[in-house]
């Protein structure tokens, strides 16, 4: 409850607790969009085909506070010199900016799995893509419902 006000015109009006963490109904220009996310993904993958599979995003489907959401991204790979994951990239649809994290790794990682905590401004789709050593791209996407968005664009400090 309390001190924070965030708002996006397209977000449902929501009240966290009586009088608490309330949304100011300010109209704000849309920031990232599904199109912006696609563009950001294409910047990484170029024209390559991105196949669903091998990548797994582990995140709770329902999150109470978008300020710090634990996310694990793993890729099914033997992580040998001949066959490994070169990079992992995570994107969101509705944060002010689509990029979340880019990771470079190699066979020395042993396991292609990273965990971090991310901000989610709103209920949205998250996509992770991985590039393997053979150049192929793989992906996973999930939808996460946020009851209280992150103050990425908070108007008050």
């Amino acid at each position: 409850m309390g001190e924070r006000l965030t708002g996006r015109s397209n977000r449902r009006q929501f009240l966290a607790a009586a009088g608490g963490a309330a949304l100011a109904l300010t109209v704000r220009p849309a920031s990232a969009t599904p199109a912006a996310m696609t563009l950001a993904i294409r910047k990484v993958a170029g024209e390559s085909e991105i196949k669903p599979g091998k990548v797994k995003i582990d995140m709770p489907p329902l999150v109470e506070n978008g300020n710090a959401v634990t996310m694990t991204v793993s890729v099914d790979s033997p992580m040998t010199a001949a066959d490994h994951v070169k990079s992992i990239h995570v994107f969101t649809e509705r944060n002010p900016q689509p990029n979340v994290i880019d990771v470079s790794l190699g066979p020395r990682a042993g396991r292609a799995s990273i965990t971090t905590r991310i901000r989610l401004a709103d209920t949205q789709k998250i996509t992770a893509i991985a590039q393997l050593s053979d150049g192929s791209f793989w992906s996973d996407s999930i939808e996460v419902i946020i009851t209280l968005g992150a103050c990425l664009e908070d108007n008050l400090i």
């Binding site: 009586a18 963490a21 100011a24 009851t147």
Partner: protein
């Protein structure tokens, strides 16, 4: 009216509607001792893990800051806390669990932050930490962390009794534009969902807490202030006796429960 108040307006209308539908129970009863639980129990698996794993708990960064301050010489006396108190592990164990405590010289109860500041100004002859500042919270987190796992043990001091009663009265009084009392939410409706949040029993077991909402550490008084803003009730300056009285009552309500500092809360 400041801009913040203005911005709250539309929310307030929603708040009143929501609170009116919610606060139906009138009978007020203290929670039976065996039914009490920390709001840790209501947290998601990930948030529990964030609190449990020290390398993942951002509150531990402040505990480490406090540890550094503990042995830093300060003030005209050029003394460190450690110079007088030695190893905090033994010297400060259980101290957070018995605060607020009565300060005879001031003739009033003081909470842990205020107790630390008494040593800052009197023993170190240094400027007291500003309440809610990074250093204050770090020191407070470090001292309270020494009591992690210790049961809350309010002092059996008759001088505290009238203050605890004042705190209890305030906790049970309807206040603010929503005409709600703390107890209506925390005693009568705990465990229920309020617009997506589980209403906790409001036990002060984790303070100072790392609150995801704040993206930082904050004191119990900051948490109380948040609830009071939510109730559209009058808030007090940090350190006010009204807050300390409420802390006394909350600690008594939570007597025997184990401290978790630094707690993580949504």
């Amino acid at each position: 009216m400041n801009p913040r108040a203005l911005r709250l307006r539309p929310a307030l209308i929603l708040a009143i509607a929501s609170a009116a539908a919610f606060a139906v129970a009138l009978a007020r009863a203290e929670i039976p001792l065996e039914q009490r639980r920390s709001s840790y129990a209501d947290m998601s698996r990930d948030n529990k893990a964030m609190q449990d794993d020290d390398t993942s708990n951002p509150g531990m960064l402040s505990v480490l800051d406090g540890e550094a301050l503990w042995s830093e010489k300060a003030g005209a006396a050029n003394r460190a806390c450690a110079d007088c108190h030695g190893d905090a592990k033994s010297g400060m164990k259980g101290v957070a669990a018995r605060h607020p405590a009565f300060d005879a010289r001031l003739g009033r109860p003081v909470n842990l932050d205020q107790r630390i500041n008494i040593c800052r100004s009197e023993r170190q002859q240094a400027a007291p930490f500003a309440l809610e500042s990074k250093d204050m919270l770090a020191m407070s987190a470090f001292v309270a962390h020494q009591s992690r796992g210790e049961p809350i043990a309010p002092p059996d001091d008759p001088r505290l009794a009238p203050h605890r009663e004042a705190g209890r009265a305030q906790y049970n009084a309807r206040q603010g534009q929503l005409n709600l009392s703390c107890g209506q939410c925390h005693d009568d409706n705990w465990g229920k969902s309020l617009a997506g949040n589980t209403v906790p029993q409001a036990h002060p077991t984790g303070y100072p807490i790392y609150r995801l909402e704040w993206q930082s550490l904050g004191s119990l008084q900051r948490r109380l202030r948040n609830c009071m803003i939510g109730m559209r009730a009058e808030t007090y300056p940090y350190g006010a006796l009204e807050y300390v009285n409420m802390e006394l009552y909350l600690m008594w309500r939570a007597r025997g429960m184990k401290l978790e500092t630094p707690g993580v809360r949504p």
